[in-house]
Amino acid sequence: MNLLIVQRILGLLLMLFSLTMLPPVGVSLYFQDGNWQPFADAFLALLAIGALVWWPVRKRIRELRVRDGFLVVALFWAVLGVAGAVPLLLSREVEMSVTDAVFEAVSGFTTTGATVLTGLDDMPASLLYYRNQIEWFGGIGIVVLAVALLPMLGVGGMQLLRAETPGPVKDTKLTPRITETAKVLWLIYVGLTAACAAAFWLAGMTPFDAITHSFSTVSTGGHSTHDASIGYFNNIAIELIAVIFMFVGGVNFSLHFLAWRQRNFINYFRDPEFKAYVWLLVVSTVLYATVLCLTKKFDDPGTALRISLFQAVSMQTSSGFVTDNFSHWPGALPVLMMLSTFIGGCAGSTSGGMKVVRWLLMWKQGQREVTQLVHPSAEVPVKLGRKAIDKRVIDAVWGFFAVYVASYGALMVLLIAVGEDQITAFSAIAACINNTGTGLGEVASNFKTLNDSGKWICVLAMLLGRLEVFPLLVLISPTFWRR
C-alpha cells in the first residue's frame, strides 16, 4: 500500500469535485437569488485544498493496487460528505449545523434523498439545484466520472470502479479500456437524464423543476424541490414519467449499453435479474392496490393503482419520492414497503438495497437445497439464466447478506440506544442503509427531528449501504493494514 499515491489521487479527485460548485453559481446568477457567494467560496476553498494535497506528491505516479483502490474510494466518499457540506454551511439562507450539513450532503451523494430541511419551496434556487446535483453525481458514481475524465488512473481505474460499483459480480467490463467503459456509462447516464428532463418539461413542469427532478429521478435519489415531493404536481403524466425513469435507473447499466450498441431491446428480456425485477414490481403494485382497495383507503381503484404503482417503484428502486404518506396505510403495507427496499434495484444500477440478483441467487440456492434433500446424490449447480454460477460468487453473496444484516441490526440498536423509538429506528436505518430516504414514524418525510448522534449513525448507514459495506469494512480489518 502506498499512502502517497492515495494522497495524490485524493487531491486530484477533490480538485475535480470543486468544479461541480460552478453550475450552482450559474443557477444563482440566472435566478438572481443572491446565494452565489457560498458556492464560489466553496469552489475556491476545495480547489485550494485539493491542490495543496496533490502538489507535494504530484510526481508519485505508480499503479494502484487492490488495497489502494479500497482506500481511495472509501476515503473519497468520506471526504465528499464533508466537502459537499461546505456550501451548505456557508449559506446564509439556511441555518445548518455541521451535523445537518454533512447529513444532507452524504444523503445526496449516496442517493438516499433523506433530508433535514423543510420549507424547500421558499429556498433559493441555487441551493435546491445543488442538492439535486449532488444526487446526480452520486448516482452512477463520482469515482466512475473521475475514471472517465482522468485517464492517468490506468489499470488503477479498475480497482476504483470495483470498489464503487454495486453488485456481486464486478469483473464485467463493457469495453476493453476502463476509461472507455466509464465514459460509456456516463454517456448513457447523461442521455437518460436529458430524456427524463425533456419528458418532465413536456408534461408541464417548469424547466428548473424538470432539470432538478430529472437529476434525482434517474439517479434514484429522491430529493425534490418541494416539501410535498412529486405529490406537489398532482399530475398523472409526471408521475408516470417519474415511474419510468426510476425504473430505468434501477436497471443494470450494462443492459442499457448492450441495447444501445446493438440497437435492440432483446437483451433486457434475456437477463434473469431484469425479469425478476419487473416481476417483483408488478406483484408488489398489484398487492398494494388490492389491499388499498379492500380496506377502502381509496374509494376509486384507479387512484389506488396509480398511487400503488408510484410507491412500489419509488420504494423498491430506493428513490423515496412520495405522492402519498404511506406510513398511514393500513395493515402490514408500510412495513412491507420498508422491507421491499432491502431488495432494491439491479446490480450495476443507480439504486440501493441488496440488489435483485443477490436475492435471486439466494432463492436459487434455497431451491437447490430442497432438490438436494430429495435427491441426495444429484449434482445441482446454481444457475442464473443458463449459466452455472461459480461457488465463489454464491459464497460472496451469503457473506454479503450476513454482513449487511449484521450492520443493519447493529446500527438499529445503536439508534434505539441514543433515544429513538423502535419504529423510527427500524425504518430510519432501513431507509439509510438501502439509500431510500423515506421511513416511517418520526422519519416518514423528514429526518430533522433525529438527535445529532442519531444523524451521525444514519450518515454511517448511508455510506455503508452505498459502498455495499465491504469497502468500508475492509478498512477497519487488521489484515488490510498489515504490511
Binding site: 489499470v155 467490463k173 469495453t175 476493453p176 479500456r177 461459480d390
Partner: protein
C-alpha cells in the same frame, strides 16, 4: 486498434501485455479458463471473456464485427484455424487474422494457408516453437552472439554481442571501425553499458563488458564480431536438455552439422524421438544429474541448452552444466524477472519464447508499413524494419538524408535495403522510395513518433 486475442496462455498473455501497453489498442482476451482471465484482468487494462474462441457466439460477444486484428493463440492448431475461418465467414473480412500453427503437417502445405483459394482464412501463421528454434540455431551459427535478428529475409542482421578484452576494437573509438574492416561496412546501433544505453558517436570508446548491437550484411557479421571479442571456435558438441517440441525440433535442425546429445526424462518420449532423429544420441535421464552429465563429457561440450518446460529446472541444470565445465550455457526462461536475474550471471543466454514470438505479432499492429519487429531487452527496446512509401518529396523520410530525418532520441537508422542491395546507413545516406529501413529504438515508447514518420496517408486496407 481493436484486437482480439484467443488464448490466455504464456504467449497470449505476453501478447496482451505488450499490446495493451500502447494507448490506442483495445484488447479483448478470450479463453476457456476463467481463473487465468481473472488474474490477467487484475493486472492489465483489457476486457476478458470466458468461452470457446471458435464459437460464433463467443466471437460476437468479443466484438468480432469491428475487430482489426484477430490473433488465435490457443494451444490447439485446429481451434485456431477454425476460429479464423469463422471470423472471416461470419463477421469480418478485413481483419488481419493471425494463427498459431504448431504442427509441421499443416504449415508445410501451401494449399492450406498461402494459395489464392486457400482452405483456411489465416493470413499469417506463427509458430513459437519454430521461432525459438530458429533463434537458437542463429545463435549457434555465431558463437559469442547474444542476439541475432534477421531483417530483409536474412540479408541484414542485427547482432548483439558482448565486447570483451581481446576484441580488436575494444578500447578504441568507434570511428576506427571502418579502417579495421577495410572495404566492408557495419553500423553500431546501440551500446549498453551496465544496463544503460549509451548513445554511439564516432568518439565513443568501446569498453570491456559493453553490450554492443550492430547491423551488418550477413556475410560481414563474423568479421565485425571479431572486432568485439576474440572469435570463438565454431560450435561442435551440443547437449540439449529436454526433448519436448522445441528440444526435438532443435535437435533435428542441429544434428546435420553438429554432434548433438539430447537428454529426456521420460523413457517413452525418449524412445519415440530417438526413432525420429538420425544422428542425435538420445539419453534417458535427468538433466540435473551430475553423474550423467559428467559421464557424457559435459566438460568438453561447447554448448548446453536447457529447453524443458520447467524454467526453474532449466536454470538449475544450466548452472550445473556451467560449473561442470561446459563452455557456454543457454536456458529457456519465461519469466522476465528470472531472465534478468540470470543473464548477467552464470547463464550466458536466457532465451525467452514470448519475446521471440511477440515481435512477429507486433509487426502487424504497427501503423505505417512495418514488415518486421523484434522486441529486445525484455520489451524495452525494439528493432524494426519499415518500408518508406509515398512520392518523392511528400513523405517525411523519402528523399532525405539520414541526418535530416527528425528521429526521436535513442533511435538510429542502421541500414537500408534497396532491392537486393544492402546499404549500411551513414549520415549522408539518401532514403529512396520503397527502401526498407532498419531502425533501432533504445526506448520503445518512441515508437509512435517513428510510426508517424513512416505512415503515409492511409491507403485502403493494410
Amino acid at each position: 486498434m481493436k484486437i482480439i486475442i484467443l488464448g490466455a496462455g504464456q504467449v497470449g498473455r505476453t501478447a496482451a501485455y505488450s499490446l495493451a501497453r500502447e494507448e490506442d489498442n483495445q484488447v479483448t482476451v478470450v479463453d476457456v479458463n476463467d481463473d487465468l482471465l481473472r488474474d490477467l484482468q487484475d493486472r492489465i487494462d483489457i476486457r476478458t471473456l470466458v468461452g470457446n474462441g471458435a464459437y460464433p457466439s463467443t466471437l460476437e460477444a468479443a466484438g468480432a464485427k469491428d475487430c482489426d486484428i484477430f490473433i488465435a493463440l490457443t494451444n490447439s492448431d485446429e481451434v485456431n484455424m477454425v476460429a479464423c475461418q469463422v471470423m472471416r465467414n461470419m463477421f469480418n473480412k478485413d481483419a488481419t487474422r493471425i494463427a498459431r500453427i504448431r504442427a509441421a503437417e499443416y504449415t508445410r502445405h501451401d494449399k492450406l494457408f498461402r494459395d489464392e483459394d486457400r482452405a483456411f482464412a489465416v493470413d499469417v501463421t506463427i509458430s513459437p516453437e519454430q521461432l525459438v528454434t530458429d533463434h537458437v540455431v542463429r545463435l549457434i551459427e555465431y558463437p559469442g552472439a547474444l542476439q541475432v535478428l534477421d531483417f530483409a529475409d536474412g540479408r541484414v542482421r542485427l547482432v548483439g554481442v558482448k565486447a570483451l578484452q581481446g576484441g580488436a576494437l575494444v578500447g578504441q573509438q568507434l570511428k576506427q571501425l571502418p579502417t579495421h574492416i577495410e572495404g566492408r561496412d557495419a553500423r553500431v546501433a546501440a551500446i549498453y553499458r551496465n544496463g544503460r544505453s549509451v548513445k554511439p558517436h564516432g568518439e565513443t570508446v568501446i569498453e570491456h563488458g559493453d553490450e554492443v548491437f550492430f547491423v551488418a550484411a550477413r556475410e560481414d557479421i563474423r568479421l565485425v564480431m571479431n572486432e568485439m571479442q576474440r572469435l570463438e571456435d565454431p560450435v561442435r558438441r551440443i547437449v540439449i536438455a529436454g526433448g519436448g517440441n522445441i528440444g526435438f525440433q532443435l535437435a533435428q535442425q542441429l544434428e546435420v552439422k553438429h554432434q548433438v546429445k539430447l537428454i529426456e526424462r521420460d523413457q517413452r518420449r525418449a524412445r519415440r524421438i530417438s526413432e525420429q532423429l538420425n544422428n542425435t544420441i538420445v539419453l534417458n535421464g535427468d538433466a540435473a544429474d551430475e553423474e550423467l552429465l559428467l559421464e557424457e563429457n559435459i566438460d568438453s561440450a561447447d554448448v548446453f541448452i536447457a529447453m524443458t518446460n520447467a524454467e526453474e529446472a532449466n536454470i538449475l541444470s544450466a548452472m550445473l552444466a556451467k560449473r561442470l565445465g561446459c563452455h557456454k550455457v543457454m536456458a529457456l526462461i519465461n519469466r522476465p524477472a528470472y531472465a534478468e536475474l540470470m543473464e548477467s550471471g552464470t547463464i550466458d543466454v536466457a532465451l525467452s519464447p514470448q519475446q521471440v514470438t511477440i515481435g512477429s505479432l507486433l509487426a502487424h499492429v504497427r501503423r505505417g508499413d512495418v514488415v518486421r519487429v523484434h522486441s529486445l531487452r525484455r520489451g524495452a527496446a525494439e528493432a524494426i524494419e519499415a518500408i518508406a512509401h509515398g512520392i518523392q518529396g511528400e513523405g517525411r523520410v523519402i528523399g532525405k538524408r539520414v541526418e535530416d530525418i527528425p528521429l526521436p532520441e535513442g533511435t538510429t537508422i542502421g541500414a537500408v535495403v534497396r532491392g537486393d542491395e544492402v546499404l549500411i546507413a551513414h549520415h549522408d545516406t539518401l532514403i529512396q522510395r520503397d527502401d526498407h529501413v532498419i531502425l533501432f529504438l533504445t526506448d520503445r515508447r518512441h515508437i509512435e513518433i517513428v510510426e508517424k514518420l513512416f505512415d503515409v496517408p492511409r491507403r485502403t486496407g493494410r
